[in-house]
């Protein structure tokens, strides 16, 4: 007898161009969604949640309702057609707010905290990091993120692309 596979029992409900219509409102997304049993439901506001925010930020993105229950999952944003993909990418950018570090001007470790002064795509920022070794995270081989005491996030998208002076300042944490 053929044994039952896990995937025969559990199915992941994916968002497709056929079952979902996203609309962009002022600063958020709403969704009209048809479930597999043909039931159509409207969600005035949905929340996007990346399941692999570091590894695949555009794949396996959950669409949640107001109560944080999953409505369906986006397998790959690019599968949804240009218009919807654009809306989703904009919504993701709103929900996941990251400063991109271009240059590190100053890092000083003091009293268990470190003070940073960096150049980001949003201009110069100064922030404080608690327990730097834990809050500076290397992702893969060439990326890194820093979270400051307030909860803001900063990303270095390419460590090897940093200038030497910047690199020297963060060497210790890598």
């Amino acid at each position: 007898m053929e044994s039952t596979k896990l995937k025969d029992v559990i199915t992941i409900q994916y968002v497709t161009p056929d079952n979902a219509v996203f609309t962009e409102k002022e600063g958020f997304l709403s969704l009209k969604f048809k479930t597999s049993d043909g039931e159509e439901k409207e969600y005035p506001r949905v929340k996007l949640q990346r399941n692999f925010p570091n590894e695949t930020p555009e794949q396996f993105v959950s669409v949640l309702d107001k109560e944080d229950e999953e409505i369906a999952m986006i397998r790959d944003v690019s599968e949804l057609g240009d218009a919807a993909a654009g809306m989703i990418r904009r919504e993701l950018a709103r929900r996941y707010f990251v400063f991109t570090i271009k240059k590190i001007l100053y890092v000083n470790q003091k009293f268990g905290y470190s003070q940073w002064r960096v150049m980001t795509d949003e201009g110069e920022r100064e922030f404080t990091v608690r327990d730097t070794y834990r809050n500076f995270r290397k992702i893969g081989t060439d990326r890194a993120t820093v979270s400051d005491v307030d909860g803001n996030r900063y990303e270095i998208s390419s460590l090897s692309g940093l200038d030497r002076a910047s690199m020297k300042k963060i060497e210790l944490y890598i």
């Binding site: 002022e26 600063g27 005035p44 925010p53 707010f97 003091k110 905290y113 909860g151 803001n152 210790l172």
Partner: protein, 754 residues
């Protein structure tokens, strides 16, 4: 220099006060009495913006760059919400026409936004515009910089001198020993200064002395040899007394430091124990442990070793410099000239070495934690046959550690000799200079040897001083941490006239709201009245706020809104000791301390009779398994003791709660790990026990609550249903659904056994 200037130019980020925000807006930009205001820094598309929100009794108004962008009238909105995003946050409203995003901001403004929303919600609930509990903004009074969570004082503004003064006061009881140690040090030092001098006498008077040699050769050696022997003996005596003084000094330092470390640990530990759960949960237990052990040790070392050292080494430096100067100023100059150079190089290289070894230490601790991880999960490793994978993981870690170590050692061994050379450059100059003088007959060999020894004495304190900046910064770090704990104000204080009362057991929740984090309420306006002797069953999904209710009832936290009363008295007016002594609590996580079964049951009532403990154990159904243990009630349990199963631990915890006959009994999933039969037995006992005691019981297994006088159902922090089992079943709401679901489950269970 340019870099230094740049560092000075610091933008201090100040949290804007509502009044400042209002002042920056045009007149008549909003209407209604002001409730609060805050700034935000992103527009709805996530680009940076200079925005502000004004909340009034009419509505919420958002402005960007001074001009209005959005507004929601209070009358149009069902609810205002604060949502944390990733690296950002937003304020939203639920209106008749659907959701509206009012503003969005980076986390920099998260706290003020959350507080603003909370304040608005409280206003809408109560009609009063008050700062919610714990609302006092955590901003440094000096510089206006926002304080980090868990910090009461701003590190930047901490006055180091006053900190040091305060810490030195802690050392006062031991000043006798510290002073003695300094005196002994100088006694030893004086002796060691004599060393080179006697050495010179020895060399110049006997070893390298033509006159002495000729008198010995002339057969008249007796006096010379006697003098020689005496000098050698003197040297030996000097050496011996140096050791003696050193030992005595170490002993007196020991006397001070051993006493002081106990004092410090006692001080910090007592303070930590007095902290509220809310304050404690802002710190990890690892952090607290480090403060009690490591930080106190740093302070102790600072007081007993570093401060005396600072005095000693400075005086030493001055003394030796003066001595050499008096003897030969040119020589002194030669010795001292390379000193600043050596000092600068020493500090620079020192910080480089520190970074290097820091990295190595981290790699070492990483490979240690990998090992710990693997060993803790060794059963899983074996079960999935992943030994090879783990081997590779550990191998990676140790190879990395080795590479760093090898690199460090290479760098160290290249730089260190050069550094020593620079530091000792003075000695070379000295030899050069004195060599010429010997050749020209202006100086004796003994004198040269003496100067060399003095120069050596000089480099000791210098080397020590290059380590000074690092040592001071380490001490200040520890100081700030320790005073942060010592200065923490009690946030759940007993009222001034806290009442000691014998509780009857009437409990009332009056419109209670509470959230652990700013802006996110876990309980929303819960009201409930319980008469003495009643048993309340609390039902709801995980995260609905059940345990939170219990935490508030125990006054581990104070409610953000509303009040909780026992026998008509607000919890805040009761003494916490009298309150908790009349409560028996079995928490979700049963914790057993290291000790015997007896110790654990009698934990809150030390000295309880053996009979009382056995009775409580019987009531909790624990006696049954305890008699089977080899050592009975004397069996050692807890972390390093005999392992009890989950159900057994729970029964010990129940016995602990029952032992002192509490007036209010709290059972938070107290019987969840028990088999149904045992649970049933305990239920029966409890039912008889609960006659004159108020009981709060939380359970997922609804049959546990069958004896409850009435049940309440919580859903997302709101009390949605309440009544007896029958009433709720008739209502056909959430409770009904839960009961049906569980019946379904129990019907399937026996069918599967066949």
């Amino acid at each position: 220099m340019k870099f230094l200037k740049f560092r000075k130019k610091k933008t201090v980020r100040k949290a804007k006060k509502p009044s400042q925000i209002i002042a920056s807006l045009p007149d008549g930009a909003f209407s209604g009495e002001l409730i609060t205001a805050f700034s935000y820094d992103l527009d709805l598309d996530g680009a940076t913006a200079d925005g502000s929100v004004v909340i009034t009794e009419d509505g919420v108004f958002a402005f960007e760059g001074g001009s209005p962008v959005r507004s929601v009238l209070l009358s149009d909105a069902d609810e205002f919400e604060y949502h944390p995003l990733v690296g950002a946050c937003e304020m939203c409203a639920e209106t008749k026409d659907g959701p509206v995003v009012i503003c969005r901001s980076s986390c920099t403004n998260a706290e003020t936004m959350a507080k603003g929303v909370r304040r608005l919600t409280r206003f809408r609930e109560t009609g009063k515009n008050v700062e919610a509990d714990g609302d006092s903004s955590r901003v440094c009074p000096k510089c206006g910089r926002r304080l980090r969570p868990g910090m009461t004082s701003c590190i930047k503004c901490a006055n180091r001198a006053s900190l040091v003064k305060r810490v030195l006061k802690l050392g006062l009881p031991y000043k006798k020993w510290i002073i003695i140690s300094v005196i002994l040090f100088f006694a030893g030092f004086a002796v060691s200064l004599l060393g080179p001098y006697v050495n010179r006498l020895l060399v110049d008077g006997y070893i390298d002395n033509e006159a002495a040699r000729s008198s010995v050769l002339g057969g008249d050696g007796g006096a010379v040899f006697r003098g020689f022997l005496l000098t050698v003996l003197l040297m030996a005596a000097l050496g011996l007394s140096t050791y003696l003084f050193r030992s005595l000094r170490n002993l007196s330092v020991m006397e001070a430091s051993c006493g002081l470390i106990v004092d410090l640990r006692r001080l910090v530990f007592d303070k930590i124990e007095k902290m509220s759960v809310k304050t404690l949960s802002r710190r990890t237990s690892g952090e607290l442990m480090r403060t009690v052990t490591w930080d106190t040790a740093q302070i102790e070392r600072f007081i007993t070793t570093d401060v005396p050292n600072l005095i000693q080494q400075t005086l030493l430096l001055v003394a030796v410099t003066v001595i050499i100067c008096l003897k030969d100023p040119i020589l002194a100059l030669l010795i001292i000239v390379p000193v600043p150079l050596g000092f600068i190089v020493g500090v620079k290289v020192g910080s480089k070495f520190r970074r290097m070894y820091d990295k190595q230490w981290r790699a070492g601790s990483f490979s240690g934690s990998v090992l710990h991880d693997i060993f803790s999960g060794i059963r899983v490793v074996k079960a999935y046959r992943t030994e090879k994978k783990e081997e590779a993981r550990y191998d990676d870690a140790i190879v990395k550690e080795r590479d760093i170590e090898m690199k460090n050692e290479t760098v160290f061994n290249l730089i260190d000799p050069i550094l020593s050379f620079v530091l000792n450059l003075g000695t070379v100059l000295l030899l050069l200079y004195s060599g010429f003088k010997i050749i020209s007959g202006a100086m004796t060999l003994g004198e040269v040897m003496m100067y060399t020894s003095y120069a050596g004495l000089l480099y000791g304190p210098l080397g020590w001083m290059t380590r000074l900046p690092r040592m001071l910064s380490r001490t200040i770090t520890s100081l700030v941490k320790i005073f942060d704990i010592i200065d923490e104000t009690e946030d759940i204080p007993d009222a001034e006239a806290a009442r000691e009362v014998a509780v009857r057991g009437e409990v009332e929740f009056d419109n209670v709201s509470f959230g652990y984090d700013e802006g996110i309420d876990v309980l929303k306006g819960v009201s409930l009245k319980v008469k003495p002797g009643e048993m309340v069953g609390i039902v709801g999904k995980s995260g609905a706020g059940k345990s939170t209710m219990i935490n508030l009832l125990m006054r581990l936290y104070d409610p953000g809104g509303g009040s909780i009363r026992i026998d008509g008295v607000d919890l805040r007016d009761l003494s916490q000791h009298s309150l908790r002594s009349q409560m028996g609590v079995v928490l979700q996580e049963t914790f057993l301390f290291h000790g015997t079964v007896y110790d654990n049951i009698a934990y809150a009532s030390p000295g309880a009779s053996r009979e009382a403990v056995i009775t409580a154990a019987k009531a909790a159904g624990a006696h049954k398994f305890i008699v089977k243990l080899t050592d009975g009630y004397d069996t050692v349990i807890g972390e390093r003791g005999h392992t009890l199963s989950g159900g057994e631990r729970q029964r010990v915890a129940i016995a602990r709660a029952l032992l002192h006959d509490p007036k209010i009994l709290i059972l938070d999933e107290a019987t969840s790990s028990l088999d149904t039969e045992t649970e049933h037995d305990i239920q029966e006992t409890l039912a008889r026990l609960t006659e004159d005691r108020t009981t709060f019981a939380i359970a997922h297994r609804l049959s546990t609550l069958r004896n409850a006088t009435f049940l309440i159902v919580l859903d997302k922090g709101k009390l949605v249903e309440s009544g007896t089992h029958e009433e709720l079943m008739r209502q056909g709401g959430i409770y009904h659904g839960l009961v049906m679901a569980q019946r379904q489950m129990s019907r399937i269970a026996p069918a599967k056994q066949n």
